[in-house]
Symmetry: C2
Subunit: 183 residues, 2 copies
Amino acid sequence: MGKHDAKQDPTQAVKEQIEKNSRASLDALSGTAGANVETISEERNSYEDKYLRAAAEIQNMNTRFNKERAQLLHFDGQKVITSILPVLDNLERALQVEVTDANAVQLKKGVEMVFEHLNQALKEANVTEIKSLGVKFDPTVHQAVQTVAADADHPKDTVVSVLQRGYKLHERVLRPAMVVVAN
Amino acid sequence: MGKHDAKQDPTQAVKEQIEKNSRASLDALSGTAGANVETISEERNSYEDKYLRAAAEIQNMNTRFNKERAQLLHFDGQKVITSILPVLDNLERALQVEVTDANAVQLKKGVEMVFEHLNQALKEANVTEIKSLGVKFDPTVHQAVQTVAADADHPKDTVVSVLQRGYKLHERVLRPAMVVVAN
């Protein structure tokens, strides 16, 4: 028994020592690897997330810029067109002068052509006159500068005359029409 | 010896078996972990790369958009301004008509004011007339429609008269000047 014990002892001791060592090695290895995997895995997820956000942002930027570009082109020339509107008013006013002299008739004919040309150019630039005469007064496109008493021909809240024409560039009001409203 | 051998055998066998097993376990573990780390590491690097490219693209897009936006605003109204230039030509032509009649003088005065107003509006929209009369012929801004013999007052390759004014919007030619050149 003593001998058997002695025989068993070294075997058992060696076995235990080796198992202990190898378990420690396994723990150490699996521990280190685990820590690395965890760190790299976190980084991988973080970069994936950042990448996906950046990709979404690129798409948003494209959408946003296409919209902005379309808007800029849609209202292209708004400033210069607005500043040219008085030219139209004044040409129209000049054309109300009555002339008889041959040269004056020639001049007037030239001015009429200019007026037509300018109207056409503005129409092609998507400028339209705001409907005013006889329509219901609309404060978003009409500016009431005078009121007259409503009667049978001029119902309350309708535009009875236009003092200065109003214009829109597409749906945007460049200048409201200055009107007289029945009240 | 036989007994000693028998005694040593089990110890050695157990030891070897355990070492073999634990080495296999270690190899297996380190192999698996290595493969995982490698895969995740590759993915991490790939996402990092994609993210960095996307971030650079976002910066490029911003630069590009800002440039394009500035360009669109810089040449805002180019189309409508170009289509309005004949109005300027025709007003100028109309103003060359001589009138004496009182009404005609009134009409002409009105047209002069319109002409001044339109010139001013175009100037404010950054439209400038191309210098032509007396300057050296420049094919980038002048269109030669006629030539005359050069003489002492009109050196070769200078513009001797302007048939139609040319205009620029900022540095961009809206319409070249139509000129007569000394040859």
